[in-house]
């Protein structure tokens, strides 16, 4: 069949299977046809000749295992003021080196190293690293992923299937190992240990350890449609995170604790209908506070209609080691989605009540609709509301259309909290049709804000702002990429933050040789950055978030990247499969005892076939070898005609060869004298 494919490629006439008459993939024309070509294309005037590529220098080294290394040298110069703008400017000069390397070793999986070291003026020197080995094969369908350095507190996948109610995977500096035996009946076992921490810093984030230690152990088994999982975890002398603060950041409590947690879950996927359900339970103990949580959800679909129902109950003080979970809440919810060519519809309603009775009850609901009117015209809108301690609502509506200049969109947004802030925004966005390799988007917005009463603005004075934004990129000649963005917000009115806010950055990326590239970018933030939050969650109160950055910086990066080698696949397997070897001999078994005795000679030039597919010939001493064969049971056969008369091998006898990973199986095949 392969031969036929090659021949077909060589002789197929100049015609492409090309329904849409776009690009066509064609067989090569013959040299003779090229010589007969009667028309020679014109060449554009004023175009300089292309620099010749030195084919010898650019040669790729395919020898050896697949391997690669990437090296980045960075220097970041930043100047910034504190958030209140009261202190003087701080200048930092950060130098860094980042190394990413990998090698794929047959039978040992892929090994990768990631190392980041930062230091400099007014910067705390830090090093983050991780060493990973993935896809380490073992016999019986097992494989392992191991990690040292920065890894995660492991939890089973079943505990993370529901995005709203998922166990967090805390980042740790330590080690982890996961063992998998995948198939219809799968088993996954994992364990991790390390010091918890989090990533901080910009533009290169580094791991900051918070002290203490956390450990986890989990197992998840799947049999047919059913999946069950369990996990235990504990912390020792750690700083727990407190609830997320507005704006998405986190902070940690001051008192160290030693929490414990237990998770169990079960689920069923109805493979035929696509329906599924799962139920989970969790228990935690932190500082003597015992808490429990249970949640369950079911998903089913009916054509394009998707339904999900959830119920949950979480008692006060529930955590998963260092992370707080939803606490003192019980209730349920229903979610509906429908997607078709013309319509995208979603709706969600959730109801909450306090388990202890100490907190308020409430509800949250949201809906959104998109309607495709014509191929180039669509409209939509959405509404969300919550009543949980405070009442809030937000909504939006838009119209989007294609026109000769590009794609335009008009959108109106509004959000309000009872007794709190409110905002209204009208925006016009346009994405310009640009030449291939270029893009340009523009934005113009009008914004009206009324903040909540505060100590510095008791009158809740309104702000009226004009917002202008630009974002573009361009691929220029010589491997040069240019990209940049600009966002300006000008406030006119009686608000407390009148003035102009600017956030801008521009950068280049230049690939100046095959292995080397240079990147440079400048950024500046000035004024008051304002972000309005619509109703997006039942637990987070919409508000107006203000940040007062006054910083600028230059980032320089010199990169080197190189790779070499070629993947190899063992006989009968795919690249990465566990494999072993077979070596042995075909010998003339004079005494018929089935063993190769010292005085028995080998049979030379005998064809030995593995699994009826792969063949080799014995050497002068009767020896043969298949150095890389996928693990498992295999069969060997010998071509009778190659044996000297009157010797033969019993063809009815199946010669089995069990292959173990990273092991060599020795098999001597004895030929017997025919009577």
């Amino acid at each position: 069949m392969l031969l036929a494919a090659i021949a077909s490629a060589a002789v197929t006439p100049l015609r492409a299977q090309q329904n849409a008459a776009s690009s066509a993939i064609l067989p090569n024309s013959t040299q003779a046809a090229a010589e007969r070509r009667p028309y020679e294309d014109r060449v554009m005037e004023g175009v300089p000749p292309q620099e010749e590529v030195d084919l010898a220098v650019a040669e790729y080294n395919p020898q050896g295992w697949p391997r690669g290394i990437s090296l980045q040298l960075t220097r970041n110069l930043q100047t910034f003021q504190n958030a209140s703008g009261t202190a003087g400017f701080t200048r930092t000069d950060t130098q860094g080196i980042q190394i990413d390397a990998f090698v794929e070793a047959p039978n040992f999986g892929a090994v990768s190293l990631n190392l980041l070291a930062l230091g400099g003026r007014n910067v705390t020197g830090l090093t983050s690293w991780s060493l990973r080995q993935t896809g380490l094969p073992f016999d019986g369908g097992w494989s392992a992923d191991n990690a040292l350095g920065i890894t995660n507190l492991l939890v089973p996948d079943l505990a993370r299937k529901n995005s709203r109610l998922a166990l967090p995977a805390t980042q740790v500096l330590g080690g982890s190992t996961i063992w998998r035996n995948e198939g219809s009946n799968a088993l996954v076992i994992g364990a991790s240990v390390g010091e918890p921490g989090r990533f901080e810093g910009f533009p290169q984030s580094r791991f900051v350890g918070l002290g203490g230690q956390v450990d986890s152990l989990f197992a998840q088994a799947t049999e047919g449609e059913w999946t069950a999982a369990a996990a235990v975890a504990q912390g020792s002398n750690i700083l727990p995170e407190v609830a997320p603060i507005a704006g998405g950041g986190v902070s940690n409590a001051a008192t160290r604790v030693s929490p414990r947690g237990l998770y169990v879950g079960i689920g069923q996927n109805e493979l035929a209908t696509g329906a599924s359900w799962q139920a989970s339970a969790i228990g935690s103990q932190t500082s003597g506070v015992n808490a429990t949580g249970i949640w369950a959800d079911a998903i089913w679909r009916d054509g394009g209609h998707n339904h999900q129902v959830s119920i949950f109950r979480f008692t006060q003080g529930l955590t998963w080691i260092d992370r707080p979970l939803a606490a003192d809440l019980q209730g349920g919810g229903y979610r509906y989605d429908y997607h078709s060519l013309r319509w995208d519809v979603s709706a969600n309603i959730e109801s909450f009540a306090s388990v202890s009775g100490d907190s308020p009850s409430g509800w949250y609901g949201s809906t959104s609709v998109r309607r495709l009117i014509t191929a180039g015209l669509s409209t939509g809108g959405g509404f969300a509301a919550r009543d949980f301690g405070a009442r809030s609502a937000s909504g939006f509506a838009y119209l989007q259309w294609q026109n000769p200049l590009g794609i335009s969109r008009v959108q109106l947004d509004a959000a309000s909290t009872q007794g709190g802030p409110s905002s209204q925004t009208a925006s016009f966005d346009h994405s310009v049709y640009a030449e291939n390799g270029m893009s340009l988007t523009t934005s113009l917005g009008l914004e009206r804000l009324q903040p909540a009463a505060s100590a510095i603005d008791t009158q809740r004075r309104r702000e009226n702002a004009v917002i202008v934004g630009l974002n573009g990129r361009a691929l220029l000649d010589g491997g040069l990429y240019l990209l940049g963005s600009l966002r300006a917000r000008d406030v006119r009115g009686a608000g407390v933050d009148s003035g102009t806010t600017l956030a801008a950055n521009v950068g280049i990326d230049w690939q100046f040789s095959r292995d080397w590239s240079l990147g440079a970018s400048l950024y500046e933030n000035r004024g008051v950055l304002v972000d309005t939050i619509a109703v997006q969650s039942p637990l987070i109160v919409p508000e107006i978030i203000r940040a007062r950055p006054n910083d600028r910086g230059v980032f320089l990066t010199l990169r080197y990247g190189s790779h070499a080698g070629s993947p190899s696949a063992p006989l009968g397997g795919l690249p990465g499969s566990g494999s072993g070897g077979i070596e042995g001999s075909v010998f003339l078994d004079s005494n018929g005892n089935g063993l190769r005795d010292g005085n028995e000679s080998g049979a030379a030039n005998v064809l030995v076939t593995l699994d009826g597919k792969f063949s080799t010939r014995t050497n002068a001493f009767g020896g043969f070898e298949f150095p890389s064969v996928v693990s498992g049971q295999h069969t060997l056969s010998v071509l009778q005609d190659d044996l000297p008369l009157p010797w033969s091998v019993d063809t009815d006898q199946k010669i089995t060869a069990p292959i173990s990973t990273r092991d060599t199986t020795h098999i001597d095949i004895g030929a017997k004298r025919m009577n």
């Binding site: 392969l2 031969l3 090659i6 490629a9 060589a10 100049l14 015609r15 492409a16 849409a20 008459a21 776009s22 690009s23 066509a24 993939i25 064609l26 067989p27 090569n28 024309s29 046809a33 009667p38 020679e40 294309d41 014109r42 060449v43 554009m44 175009v47 292309q50 590529v53 084919l55 650019a58 040669e59 790729y60 395919p62 020898q63 696509g274 054509g303 394009g304 429908y338 078709s340 060519l341 013309r342 014509t374 191929a375 590009g406 049709y433 640009a434 291939n436 390799g437 000649d477 491997g479 095959r514 070629s566 190899s568 006989l571 792969f614 063949s615 080799t616 070898e625 298949f626 150095p627």
Partner: protein, 316 residues
């Protein structure tokens, strides 16, 4: 012991490009491998070309310049030859390319940045070409293809036979000169097979002087009262030609489509800034496929013959 395993791949990625923008890639690979049990050595070339199609406008006496992004996806350097071809749609709806200069070809208006390229491993370049119709050019559509051909031929040996292996990509260019534009008319309607499903089909004639491509969507109601959206196949219809365009059902979810007839279809089909309304009833297909009448242009799919539309019941 030596074990040979050879592979050749020719495949495309992406679909129709946005008329002007959009990043849709075409990928051609001619990969030849020679592997032994302990190592696999790959050699050959593959290139990613973006976009796979251009639809541009140019006025007589003016010049329009466009850029093709060519990425040489290989671990070693490669050489390419770049040249133009004329092309047309064959009776089976496939494009047929010709290196000979076709009558009325506009290729003499086309200039390429260069005819030969040498690219480093994994290098990407912007290859320019321009179209300059003369000032007295009449309004029409200039169609040609830019062929990008890998010159790194690999000689493969299989037994006693040797084969040269390489590949090339044709980037289709439609250039509207002056105020040329398509004019599409639906002349026949019927049913035919598309991926094993009997679907409504339209025969569309282009009486304009530029190619057209049906877009938009229409809504159908089948015999069971189900409302189903349909989108037309986005196939080009060249000036003066007729083509059978299937209406493909778009059903939410992953449910298999099974249409029950009679089926009524209403809505607007669009091309460029023009559109036409349809209000059609498709009857149950006959069990035995009748031969396609010679008076009807050949259909690309099996099915009963398309029937002429009764005036007043089709285009609104």
């Amino acid at each position: 012991m030596t074990i040979l395993a050879n592979k050749i791949k020719f495949r495309t990625m992406g679909s129709q490009a946005n008329p002007v923008g959009g990043l849709v890639c075409a990928l051609v690979c001619a990969i030849t491998t020679l592997c032994a049990p302990s190592a696999l050595h790959a050699q050959g070339f593959s290139a990613v070309i973006s976009p796979p199609r251009f639809e541009v406008a140019v006025q007589p006496g003016k010049t329009v310049r466009q850029v093709i992004e060519i990425t040489h996806v290989a671990n070693r350097a490669g050489k390419y030859r770049v040249y133009t071809n004329d092309w047309s749609l064959g009776p089976d709806g496939n494009a047929v390319f010709s290196e000979e200069l076709a009558p009325n070809s506009c290729r003499p208006w086309v200039a390429l940045e260069r005819r030969d390229l040498s690219l480093d491993a994994n290098a990407k370049i912007r290859f320019r070409f321009e179209i300059s119709p003369p000032a007295d050019a009449v309004s029409a559509e200039c169609r040609f293809a830019i062929m990008i051909e890998g010159l790194e031929q690999v000689i493969k040996t299989e037994g006693a036979l040797s084969f040269p292996v390489s590949g090339r990509i044709g980037v289709i260019v439609y250039a509207i000169v002056g105020d040329a534009r398509p004019k599409l008319e639906i002349s026949h309607a019927g049913t035919g097979l598309s991926e094993g499903v009997v679907v409504p089909q339209l025969q569309v004639r282009n009486t304009g002087n530029a190619h057209g491509r049906l877009g938009g969507f229409v809504t159908g109601m089948d015999a069971q009262g189900r409302q189903i959206d349909f989108v037309p196949e986005a196939l080009p219809i060249l000036p003066g030609q007729s083509r059978v365009i299937a209406l493909i059902p778009n059903v939410p979810g992953n449910d298999a489509v099974k249409l029950t007839y009679p089926l009524t279809v209403k809505g607007n089909l669009e091309w460029g800034d023009q559109k036409t309304g349809i209000d059609l009833r498709f009857e149950a297909p006959v069990a035995k496929t009748a031969p396609t009448p010679t008076s009807t242009p050949p259909a690309s799919k099996a099915g009963p013959p398309l029937v002429p539309l009764v005036p007043g019941t089709t285009a609104k």
